[in-house]
């Protein structure tokens, strides 16, 4: 019988590289966002919140889209690989946290520019609704049942929940909103932004995306180990129950004799 080995490392060269690049990008965002970039003509220093607010919002959208794609892959694949389900779950966990950070940073930015922390504005309301939906998704993942049951019910919810993203994104165009419209992805190609501001914003988006990738890779591995432990515990429980049944049967036969 082969001896089992227990390597305590979860990181791989790829995740280490992604992690290191994330750290460098984050350092750039802090230095660029707080020191290097100039004030905005209209918003003054408050514009510095943008270098964090926009990337966290982007990562939250990306995370929920990854959750939907991984869920679709689980449903459509013949093998129903649990890896897809775990990527979906890990991505949703990270997305919920980034969405909450987006709402918090937006709320503080709103206090400076609009004079209030919260308004029942279309963008803010739909974003809060999106957050609550994915908290519900995570709650459903935590319900009991087999791994297949968890994967199937959460995949269906993920495919429905992702339909909210266009609603959130286009809410500023569909309804009258306090929230400003897209500055960089406006569609006309005319970006009215200073070079250093645009560079810092893009580095922020790339850096936060790499952080997201690192977190999903590691969370997916943590979930894989949790699933493996759950299956091992289930095997042990089934073996114990089988042994108990065998002992009871033997005792009954002995009693009859």
């Amino acid at each position: 019988m082969e001896a089992q080995t227990f390597n305590a490392r979860v990181a791989t060269p790829t995740t280490r590289l992604v992690g290191a690049m994330s750290l460098v990008s984050m350092a750039w965002v802090v230095i660029g966002g707080l020191i290097v970039t100039p004030k905005d003509v209209n918003q003054g220093d408050a514009v510095r919140i943008m270098y964090v607010h926009v990337p966290t919002a982007w990562v939250a959208y990306l995370a929920f889209i990854v959750t939907a794609v991984a869920s679709a892959c689980w449903l459509l694949s013949r093998k129903h690989s649990m890896c897809f389900d775990r990527v979906a779950g890990a991505s949703a966990e990270v997305g919920v946290i980034f969405m909450a950070m987006t709402l918090l940073s937006g709320s503080l930015w709103g206090r400076i520019t609009w004079g209030t922390f919260w308004a029942w504005d279309p963008r803010l309301t739909t974003t809060a609704f999106l957050l609550v939906t994915y908290i519900g998704y995570l709650a459903v993942r935590g319900l009991g049942g087999s791994l297949e049951q968890r994967a199937r019910r959460s995949a269906v919810i993920a495919l429905l929940a992702v339909l909210e993203i266009p609603l959130v994104h286009f809410s500023v165009l569909m309804w009258r909103s306090l929230h400003q419209k897209a500055s960089v992805l406006s569609g006309d190609g005319d970006i009215k932004m200073d070079g250093s501001m645009l560079t810092t914003l893009l580095v922020g988006v790339i850096g936060f995306t790499m952080t997201f990738a690192w977190l999903v890779m590691h969370r997916q591995r943590v979930l894989a180990m949790q699933d493996a432990m759950q299956m091992t515990q289930l095997d042990v429980a089934l073996r114990e129950r089988a042994n108990e049944s065998a002992t009871e049967s033997t005792d009954r036969v002995e009693g009859l004799k």
Binding site: Q4, T5, F6, N7, A8, R9, V10, T12, M26, V30, G33, L34, G44, D45, A46, R48, I49, V52, H53, T56, V94, I97, M101, L104, S105, L108, W109, R111, I112, T211, W214, L215, H218, R219, R221, V222, A224, M225, Q226, A228, M229
Partner: protein
């Protein structure tokens, strides 16, 4: 810098939350990895 408190709060909370998430993930991963056999860890 104007509105320094708000700006510092946004940067502070964001990076503190990300750091906490990373640390939690690493610690949880190490703890589980010492209990789960390598055959269940395809990345090792």
């Amino acid at each position: 810098m104007d509105h320094l408190g708000f700006i510092a709060a946004v940067y502070g909370v964001t990076f503190a939350v990300i750091t906490a998430l990373v640390v939690r993930t690493v610690l949880q991963g190490r703890e589980l990895a010492s209990k789960v056999a390598d055959k269940d860890k395809p990345w090792t």
